[in-house]
């Protein structure tokens, strides 16, 4: 009876066509723009083909942005997973059902915040003179000033901490839920063998959760690409270029500093190619 229905076609085709149009038009057009020399200030343009891409490889700020983006990915993904697994296991071990529910609610709150809000909240908190997060430092050192957002060595980590605050706590909830779905028998068996609690998790539960944890990491890697809001509000890529990721640099090239839309688009296209290839390969691996 299901076979003969027209439902799959009428339900699926319009949506897929719209999705394809909405995604392919900007994607292809991004490539077209990248091959031209458009600027915001003028309407005329000509084709320069690969000149923008060639310029990029000699642009030291671009290379710096690539490096900052890679650092950002690694720092946020690793820290998020570490926080998530650590807190998830702790909740599983020492919190009763009611307390777990309370923690789960609390830990979901940061990720729901608009990133702009989260960025502001922590920008205030990191203020060297009046911030609440720098207050303990002022208290201990008797009024010395610590300004994490304007020191090149700490700025990236200060911004990354906000990202981990949002995602690490949220993922801790998911890790807990994953642990709760496990059958109790292997854990009981390990316990009978006098395994310590941390051993049970290191050798039994977490290996059992390998596949979902890898998927979780995959999700975080994708979400880490969206660092722009945090960086735009908290540091604007500064101090200097210490936190200038690729999307921040593309934005400032295209809109703040010079209005070189084509140059910015060339950067965006490179980013797009890199992420699509990487994530497609990773996804096929995760699925396999």
């Amino acid at each position: 009876m299901r076979r003969r229905s027209s439902l799959p076609v009428t339900f699926l085709v319009p949506t897929l066509v719209i999705l394809l149009v909405l995604s392919m038009v900007p994607t292809l057009y991004a490539i077209v723009i990248a091959l031209q020399n458009r600027e915001l200030s003028t309407t005329g343009y000509s084709w320069v083909w690969c000149a923008n891409f060639a310029d990029l490889f000699f642009d030291r700020r671009f290379l710096n942005a690539v490096w900052v983006s890679v650092k950002w990915e690694i720092v946020t993904v690793v820290a998020t997973m570490a926080v998530a697994i650590g807190l998830g296991v702790l909740m599983f071990e020492v919190a009763g059902p009611r307390l777990r529910n309370v923690y789960c609610l609390l830990f979901i709150i940061p990720v729901l915040l608009p990133r702009v809000s989260a960025a502001f909240v922590w920008k205030f908190a990191y203020h060297p003179l009046y911030g609440i997060a720098t207050y303990p430092y002022r208290l201990i050192t008797g009024g010395l000033i610590f300004d994490p957002l304007s020191k090149p060595s700490t700025a990236l980590f200060a911004v990354a901490s906000v990202d981990v605050w949002q995602w690490g706590l949220f993922f801790a909830v998911i890790v807990l839920k994953l642990l709760e779905t496990l059958p109790p028998q292997p854990i009981e068996a390990a316990r009978l063998d006098h395994a310590k609690r941390w051993q049970i998790h290191a050798y039994v539960t977490l290996p059992m959760l390998k596949a979902p944890l890898i998927s979780l990491m995959f999700v975080k890697m994708i979400e880490s690409l969206r660092s722009f809001d945090l960086i735009y509000v908290m540091t604007r890529g500064g101090p200097g270029v210490a936190t200038e990721t690729l999307d921040m640099y593309a934005f400032s090239q295209g809109f703040i500093e010079s209005g070189k839309v084509s140059y910015a688009s060339a950067m965006a296209v490179l980013m797009m190619i890199a992420t699509v290839i990487t994530f497609t390969m990773l996804w096929k691996r995760v699925q396999a």
């Binding site: 699926l12 900007p26 789960c104 205030f124 009046y130 999307d247």
Partner: protein, 275 residues
């Protein structure tokens, strides 16, 4: 679960958890408190817990035209994009979940891969396109762009929700003479409703929080609330801290309203996995 480990370990573990719980909400609570403070009480070397509260910041925020326009724009843009996402995403998800064909895997991957696209890569060409067709800085442009987000996210999350509906119920309805469409309307939608609402709420939060695309596609008329809020901070060095905090609170409230729905959604996803 019987505690058999020594006490100190458990105590430390509990302390770490309590600290994490505190860190999760305290910065936000502090922001809310700052929204109620006069500037004198905010700019202090030692944070003040006791102060005489004022509503001046909040009333200033709510009285500003730019904030109200931003709020309206956000509500209209996000609301319409979510409605479009529901109208197009839910049926498509149902078709993928219930009428499997050999492209089902590819379709799912395509929908997910839309999330890989860097927002800048979408925003730059769209800005040029909208400028050329004369829709730059209008809500329709923003709604169309956001629909790409909402359709794909709703579809992605609704597929498992529809798969979670017991097949037997649908089969029984077919036997009772329901057509394919009425099974969708009268059976699948109501049964999956709880998970679907979670998926829809999630997509709303996602577009409400969106910043980069809104920043690039608007210059004055179509600014959404996050843009307006971020601009408030750029009023020079003499920052009106209380006002900024108040605007952060206003911006954060709508997503937090969905806290209950979304945590229920999480629970239902994992309950499904367990069974």
């Amino acid at each position: 679960m019987k505690p058999y480990r020594m006490r100190p370990g458990r105590l430390i573990a509990k302390a770490i958890l309590a600290l994490a719980g505190f860190l999760a909400v305290f910065p936000l609570v502090w922001t809310a408190l700052n929204a109620l403070k006069n500037n004198v009480d905010i700019i202090t070397r030692v944070p003040r817990l006791v102060f005489s509260p004022t509503l001046a910041n909040i009333s200033y925020i709510l009285g500003r035209d730019s904030v109200l326009t931003g709020l309206c724009n956000s509500v209209v843009a996000c609301g319409s994009a979510v409605l479009i996402g529901v109208a197009l995403g839910l049926p498509a998800a149902y078709a993928v979940a219930r009428y499997p064909n050999r492209f089902a895997g590819d379709i799912q991957f395509f929908v997910l891969s839309l999330r890989f696209l860097p927002p800048v890569a979408v925003a730059i060409p769209l800005m040029v396109i909208w400028l050329q067709v004369g829709l730059y800085d209008t809500l329709p442009a923003l709604i169309v762009t956001y629909s790409l987000l909402t359709i794909s996210v709703i579809m992605w999350l609704a597929i498992p929700a529809f798969q979670g509906v017991p097949k037997e119920i649908e089969e029984a309805a077919f036997v009772d003479g329901y057509g394919a469409y009425s099974v969708f309307w009268r059976i699948a939608l109501p049964v999956a409703a709880r998970s679907l609402i979670g998926a829809i709420a999630f997509s709303f939060v996602l577009v409400w929080n969106e910043f980069l695309i809104a920043l690039m596609l608007s210059s004055s008329n179509a600014k959404t609330l996050p843009i307006v809020a971020s601009e408030l901070s750029q009023q020079g060095m003499n920052v009106p801290w209380g006002i900024l905090n108040a605007s952060v609170v206003l911006l954060s409230l709508p997503p937090l309203l969905f806290l209950g729905v979304l945590s229920g959604f999480l629970n239902s996803v994992f309950r499904q996995k367990k069974s």
